[in-house]
């Protein structure tokens, strides 16, 4: 089995597998570990308002590495990639639309809580 990585005629002679080269797998692994260490180190070292964006940016880079190489997206059919990424769109829709509506009920919930005893009292 050759190590071809494109949809060439050769790939059809040998089936439909696209084995990932070992050095590439190792390189992806090393980058993922690097970014994990980076995000732990940066935790507490960047200004508060940047904390979440930086952590999410690093997580997304890691996610992209996993998707592209470990999950073989670079060799996969376009529709599969599209289908998978559509879930992110709907996740975003769910989060954003619900977020638009939060806050309105909070005063009422707070009042309700103040007038209703907690189920588990907090030990001081």
């Amino acid at each position: 089995m050759s190590e071809h990585s494109s949809h060439s005629a050769a790939s059809h002679e040998h089936g439909f597998a696209h084995p990932m080269p070992v050095p590439m797998l190792l390189a992806v692994f090393a980058s993922l570990i690097f970014f994990t260490i980076l995000t732990v180190v940066l935790n507490g070292a960047v200004p508060d308002f940047l904390e979440l964006p930086v952590a999410m940016l690093i997580a997304t880079i890691k996610a992209l590495l996993v998707m592209l190489f470990f999950m073989h997206m670079v060799h996969d059919k376009l529709f599969n990639v599209f289908a998978f990424l559509s879930s992110v769109i709907f996740l975003g829709l769910f989060i954003i639309s619900t977020l638009v509506d939060t806050g309105v009920n909070q005063p009422a919930i707070k009042e309700y809580r103040l007038t209703t005893p907690l189920v588990a009292p907090v030990q001081k």
């Binding site: 619900t98 638009v100 509506d101 939060t102 309105v104 009920n105 909070q106 919930i109 809580r113 209703t116």
Partner: protein, 567 residues
Amino acid sequence: MATVAEPMLAHKHEPEENYLTCSSGFLSWAMTLDHKRIGVMYLFAVTASMLLGGVFALLVRIELLTPDKTLMDHNTYNHMFTLHGAVMVFLFIIPSIPAALGNFILPVMLGAKDVAFPRLNLASFYLWVAGAIFFLMAIAMGSLDTGWTFYTPYSSSVISGSQAGGIVAAVFGAFILGFSSIFTGLNFIVTVHTLRPPGMTWFRMPLFLWALYATSVIQLLATPVLGITLLLLILERTLGIGVFDPALGGDPVLFQHFFWFYSHPAVYIMILPAMGIISELIATFSRRHIFGYRFIAYSSIAIALLGFLVWGHHMFTSGQSPLATVIFSALTFTVSIPSAIKVFNWLATMYKGSISLATPMLYAQSFIFLFTIGGLTGLFLGTLAVDIHLHDTYFVVAHFHYVMMGGTLIAFLGGMYYWWPKITGKMYNELWGAIGCLMVFVGFNLTFFPQFMLGSQGMPRRYYTYLPHFQGYHVISTIGALVLGTGIGVALATLLWSLWTGRKAPANPWGGVTLEWTCSSPPPLANFEKTPTVGDPYDMEQVKWDAKTESWIPRPVSERTGNSASH
């Protein structure tokens, strides 16, 4: 399997064996991987659920005959309307057309031997059975009276005692049914993508397949959210996670967001396959090429996607923020556009067609009439100012019954009559079929049209009692429900009766030109002896009536006048 060589029968046109006769015994059904048998099992299961839900409905209607106690006390009444809703939605409507008729028809219509994952298909069926068992357990464990929507905080913290077990069982049942639905949708999408035979391009797919495809997309994207919502509700009840329970600092309105993120799109899980059936019926029984094929196909996808943007219209009076309310109201109106496109295209298809009013077509006509009323009254409810008055009244009840029952149930019956000869190999009695349809139509309108009046005058939904001056409408509604129930009984009995007395069905009794009419009735186990040739699914020129065999047969190419696909 299915590779039994039949050299002796080579001269015969029809195979000796079909999917019903190729094997027998309980296990040959219980362990079958054949999509047709699984479809038939679903057909029995969802029809039984419909009858169960219908009994609950009739009990509710009979109770409402008088403002005071007629049959049952108020607690029992609360259980009855909850069970009616939950059974009808989760056990009947959602799986009705996709899982039962879709399972049988989709691969055959597509020209495939089976769905992509036959074992997953069987697993979906057993998940449905497991979900149904949990529902029955809920009834046995003290039942539930939350309404089918399980709103918090009532469902999460108010109910206690004997009913507590019932609600967890019912919620878990719905959770399992959700996965049944997800796996059916997944199976259908993959089947449509990878098992189309040569020549079956996307735009040669019958519109029922487009509708099932769009439905599957919703099942895949929305139902997991129902799963996590119900799981969180179970955790709220058992561990007190406080996400929805205001006593612990949670937000009960958040539950409504979660619930309707699934349940509004689920409305399109219920109606899109129905629309798909209607497209098939209208074309076949008008003997005309469907008008605006691509518009109908794309409108299915558009409805599926737009359906995700409007869920907040269920929460106009729930304390939703004004901004969200306005956005959701505006988006709600956009869904009416693709729905109207379909209706106009059906009407245009019938225009100057040679219409035959066989029973399936009668159901299709009923559908167009009832769905139009249901759709238009939906616009009233999507309008903010009007909804404040109409919210949680009988107007809403009437509206969604016109869509869900006047739409989905009618189309389900229409589809069942249409494909019954294919599924069972028997022709039913047309006269009794028509009588059943007429009773259903009249009974339906008697039941639900008065409810528009009730609602616009302020009668709230789900109430056990009412002001005396509402009684006239309630009496008409209850009488209508009894007529409707009898009509459904007649319709189902007519079909069952045909199993004993029906004439043997030809391969193509209606003159349909989609692929399922090219294989024998009932189809052989592998559907097609050889890979079918695929043409325009609505080119009615491809077949002609043959009086001798009382069936439609392929028209030789030399007899065809032209390309009717140019319509």
